[in-house]
């Protein structure tokens, strides 16, 4: 299964998806098809290896969730992207950005999504136990947002 075949099967099966051809196939997926596309990538494209899932804060452009899944046998790597609403810290509204969780598809997404929630504040729907993984549970704010200063004081230790 080469990159071209992957691109063609994606194009015919998913309409709203834009594909950038190249060594890693960069696929931007609309939010509502996020889990469906991941399921499709795992079954028909054979991308069973879950590499990582993370997020990028484009300030006003909104939060972007990035996931990389690979097909180890044919060395095909897929980089899935989806754009969410900007985070409340910047855009002023108080509703946290939501995204469908990939845990039902890839069990490896469990800790990765907890880290995205911890660092960006993205709420992943029907994630088994969405709580902070790296910082203490009493931590205010989501550090990796662009609006969070790098060394904000934290009494009593800083």
């Amino acid at each position: 299964m080469t990159y071209e075949q992957a691109a063609s099967t994606i194009a015919e099966r998913f309409s709203g998806v834009t594909v950038e051809t190249g060594a890693p196939l960069i696929v931007s997926v609309p939010v509502d098809q996020w889990r469906a596309f991941a399921q499709f990538a795992k079954e028909s494209l054979g991308c069973r290896f879950f590499n990582f899932l993370s997020a990028v804060d484009w300030k006003d452009g909104g939060l972007e969730v990035v996931a990389v899944v690979d097909n180890l046998d044919d060395n095909v790597s897929l980089r899935l992207k989806t754009r969410l609403a900007p985070s409340p810290a910047e855009a002023g509204h108080d509703e946290a950005p939501r995204c469908a969780s990939l845990v039902p598809v890839f069990r490896g997404a469990n800790w990765m999504e907890r880290e995205c929630y911890d660092m960006f504040g993205i709420v992943f729907e029907d994630h088994p136990d969405l709580r902070r993984i790296l910082l203490g549970d009493d931590w205010q704010g989501h550090p990796l947002l662009k609006s969070y200063a790098v060394d904000t004081p934290h009494p009593p230790y800083r």
């Binding site: 934290h154 230790y157 800083r158």
Partner: protein, 212 residues
């Protein structure tokens, strides 16, 4: 946002042989509560001390006890990060700490020294404080590596404590990132010399309110 680094006011350590007994006596009076012996023994020595010429007895006794404490300081294995790997190399056979009478021990209950090797994060600080508190009393602390000394390369990270002396009183600071085993051994020798001479900095670096 230029953040000026606070300079902790750690008094200059005094590690040289004594000029005379008066200086040993002065240091003996200042020693912290943890270094003293049991209450009965202290009252006994005070009695002998008032006796004319009694200070010779008590000073010799203290020197002997300090020598005993110095030559068997057991570090608790408290490895946090990269410095822990260098600490392991120091515990291993090439740079052996057992020559100094230090047996690396896993539980704080049997150890006298805590070598803080690695970055102290805000989530880890209460644990570190609890383990230091659970160590029996004459206890010392060595801050190994620039992360433990002052936060090091991660000083401006939001989750990093700017130096372990904000959490526990530290006696010897070992510079380096990571400090090679030779400089850790040098730090441990300085600690032993400090134990033998009672002089302990022990003071917690008070955080500078203006900056923090």
């Amino acid at each position: 946002m230029a953040v000026k680094a606070p300079i902790p006011e750690v008094p200059a350590p005094v590690w040289r042989s004594f000029k005379d007994l008066q200086e040993f006596e002065a240091l003996r009076q200042q020693r912290p509560e943890g270094d003293k012996h049991s209450a009965t023994f202290e009252s006994l020595t005070e009695g002998i001390h008032q006796f004319p010429g009694g200070f010779v007895v008590t000073t010799l006794a203290d020197t002997f006890f300090n020598w005993a404490r110095k030559s068997s300081v057991w570090p608790v294995t408290f490895g946090l990060a990269c410095c822990a790997i260098e600490m392991m190399a120091t515990f291993a056979s090439r740079f052996d700490v057992e020559r100094l009478g230090m047996v690396p021990w896993a539980s704080p209950r049997h150890s006298d020294l805590m070598i803080v090797s690695g970055t102290v994060t805000i989530k880890m600080a209460p644990m570190l404080e609890r383990i230091y508190a659970q160590m029996p009393d004459p206890k010392w602390a060595v801050s190994m590596g620039s992360c433990a000394n002052s936060g090091g390369p991660f000083r401006h990270g939001y989750h990093v404590v700017k130096g372990v002396d904000r959490v526990i009183p530290v006696d010897v600071y070992v510079p380096g990132c990571p400090p090679p085993p030779e400089s850790l051994l040098n730090g441990l020798l300085l600690l032993q010399e400090q134990i033998a001479h009672f002089r302990r900095t022990g003071q917690r670096a008070a955080p500078n309110e203006k900056v923090d």
